[in-house]
Symmetry: D2
């Protein structure tokens, strides 16, 4: 099978998925798409071409490769192996490429269920925000059989500029969870450092400029120091989602006995912020829990 | 007093100091220098011009501005206010610019002692390694009176490309400690994340590439992931020095009641690594403590 | 309904359950019992009287109150609401008293399922080891409707000497989880304190005597200091079970945004010990993870 | 030298010292005493007999054994080796028994200074509150040479009912610091557990009764659960003192590379409470920091 002739399906046209699919369309793929809210699918096709399918099963029937980009494990399970799911329409050599961020255990269970029907699966979660999805410069970490990765790779390279095959099915999700846990730790340290700098009378813009320039520099300094000090929690990545990912990462760590104390602390801070009602806000709102702990506002 | 006519002294010609002073010489300053090991001072003058002074006091007598770049608070105290120190030779409007990393409390105490003799003081610690010292692109965070910063700023800009006045005497040191504590946290998270990735069967070069590209990216991923996975602890910044800085940062945090749990954890990891005998190695050796905790080597 | 005339069933005659049921028998109750391994049930009846039922459903049919004391949520679900479970035989005013330690969420879900069939439920987990089960001096913390507690209380008082109604269905389990999490923290602190005392050259028997006598005294000092220093992990309470309880407690804490950092740390230590293969040993084996972290044996 | 004939001095007649000295007087010792506030010394002698000395040096001159019970390392240093201190009056075989809680490093330094003058030293800090001081039932942990302990032991047994020789000079203090750090951890866990129990709707008196009865039982449950839930911080042991002890314990742990993460967390909680202005209150006020973190009051 040659990728240039693959029939490609896409399920999930949200903020990320619509941009990722658009890049595939621009690269010449005519997609069969499905979205829970059908109006979004119709609008997408009006702009980018392709066909709106009636169900995930219909996407499966019309595609050699089905990409999914939905919200959580329950949705992935529904669209791939649930009633009316891809599994009901897919030919036996169909490849499902799930790019959602879900628990590795869910990925493995769904993959096993698909395998019973002869359908193959790759997990390929991404890092990068919507501008990078738009630009086709996401980072994509994939888990699954080498031949499945080889098949999907040309499609993935249209959506991302760093595409890495990191191991077996589920390992893409494991690395994604670790990535987010490390990000959460870095963001927590930025928040704690800001609280101390502020208590010492240091201007927080100076704090950011200095930290960003050296050994303490991080994406989190660049992205979250400003929203934290301005208490602006416009959601780019929801605190509840970050909390869920850190929790899942700790479950993975516990399963293999790997200590991850720094992520354990980040979880506590995120949970305390969620408990104050900031779960639907951006995870920069973790500063609220730290301020409460310190008894002092920035 | 105009900077272009200032007479400048420099105390401490080690790895960092010799490169910083060289930039001042290249900018046209003829320096009066002193170094504990006199041969180093003589070699430096042979290459860069200037005069070797007999003592810190002699540097003080010959200079309007005296820059110091030594190892710890005890050395700063010795060269500035000890027997034969700058204080014994300096005119009453002399300005001491200490660029060493020491405890803010030591800075304040030394500054108060100098003030009794009419000598002024600025703390101006730096971040950045020896290549950045060589290139004159250090980050410099200064604490002290505005007029003292104004006087020193042209000299500081020769040595650094980000020069920030962050507050009163000692606050430069506070920000430096916070910077290093945040770096230590980020490095700990990288180590913990690597241990989990490795347990999950993920290649550690992939780990680094993926994390570096997104929200978990940090200077510590770029600089320490490789030495950690290779167990190469060639000292760029000694673990004992990092441990000291994190400890001092926690003292500052405790003094104002600002919680910094993530740095508290980093301290434990660093201390456990020091206890295993890695204090003189690079702080990437913190991975040794994490490996011991996990009961597993990378 | 009067307790003295209640017909009582008992499901689960393991180390704890067999002793608890024996106290009920000694108090004059003729029990209808069921155990997964039927031989145990027969041996118990041979000693204590009563009747062996064919199934949990048969226990339900023969009882006004059914007590269960099994291993985990899956077993509780099986014997109460699964195929052949109590729900299939119970009259509509039957009361299930589950004394197992399971997730509060499982308790609530099982209780809701029972309620659909008109069967009531109380959760009443215990603290105390087998000698206290034998002596009828357990601590019992119950959750459920006041009238259900009132009905069960005389039976509970036969098995325990501290019997407390702590709230609604599931809250008994919540308090049990908190109890175990606090115990895990206390045990971790004992282990960490011993490691430091040992490093300082202090005899560990002296350590125990001194700590037990004052403000640092705890059940964990009394019960676990000796097994830790002797590396004797004969299982009284398995490390995997303690780890599970601490994890469930943290899930409860996260759900309400209540920070429990000390338990988060205990979880990491327990998980690292489990990862070294000590999950089936007593949780005193957490000292193994701490020793690995320190790079030093007691 | 026979203890019954030893001449005994006592320095520091505060809440603890006055009661400890009184027990010595009741046992037949005529004490030479000194107190910073001379009125207290005179009042004590009026009640218990003995002689008020003009200075610590005069106590030293009149005594074979000098017991000190003062507030901190600076005071110990002052009364033993400062101007007018015991060292100036003591005969060369005099034994100083310091029962204050201070940093082990201070003890060792003071002991070395005394040794230069031929004066011996034992550290013998205590655990137990003023009622136990009154009753002569303190726990006393002593560090020093065996012959010095043998000499002091009969006196110590008048003041305490558990008297343990735990090693060399300073090790009594080390064990005392560990004791207090473990107590601080246990108290923190009680506070965190209470916050969660409260969020779950569990009555906090029930919480205390249940925890006290089993594996989570501790002196801290018995002593601090009530003040925490009542927000009654009448100082029995000041939060600032507990914070100081935990900090010193962590310094000892760091020096030998022994991880003590649970105490690290307790320190953060105590520091955050101190930062809110509760340093002079009882350390039960740590609940204030936890409440702030959770954003919820008990």
């Amino acid at each position: 099978m040659n990728d240039s002739r693959s029939r490609v399906g896409f399920i999930g046209l949200g903020i990320m998925g619509s941009r990722m699919a658009a890049n595939l369309a621009r690269a010449g793929h005519e997609l069969t798409v499905w979205n829970r809210t059908v109006e979004k699918a119709e609008a997408w096709v009006a702009e980018h071409g392709g066909i709106v399918a009636e169900s995930p099963a219909a996407v499966g029937a019309a595609s050699d490769v089905v990409i999914s980009m939905v919200v959580d494990g329950a949705q992935v399970e529904q669209v791939l192996t649930g009633a009316g799911g891809v599994i009901e329409g897919a030919a036996s050599d169909c490849l499902c490429v799930d790019m959602s961020t879900i628990a590795p255990g869910d990925t493995r269970r769904i993959g096993a269920r698909l395998a019973e029907a002869g359908v193959r699966m790759l997990d390929a979660p991404v890092t990068g925000s919507s501008p990078r999805a738009e630009a086709g410069t996401l980072t994509i970490m994939a888990g699954g059989a080498p031949e499945d990765f080889a098949l999907a790779e040309p499609l993935l390279r249209v959506m991302g500029d760093l595409v890495v095959h990191v191991g077996e099915l589920g390992q893409g999700e494991v690395l994604k969870l670790i990535n987010n846990a490390v990000a959460a730790v870095n963001a927590t340290a930025v928040g704690e450092g800001m609280l101390l700098a502020d208590a010492a009378g240091i201007d927080l813009k100076d704090f950011q400029r200095v930290l960003a320039s050296g050994s303490a520099g991080s994406a989190m300094v660049d992205l979250k120091a400003k929203p934290m000090r301005e208490h602006d929690y416009t959601p780019l990545f929801k605190l509840d989602h970050m909390l869920k990912d850190v929790r899942l990462c700790l479950e993975e760590a516990q399963a293999v006995g790997s200590p991850f104390e720094s992520a354990g602390h980040a979880r506590e801070v995120l949970a305390a912020a969620a408990g104050r009602g900031f779960g639907e806000q951006d995870f920069a709102a973790l500063i609220e829990a730290l301020e409460g702990y310190a008894g002092r506002r920035l």
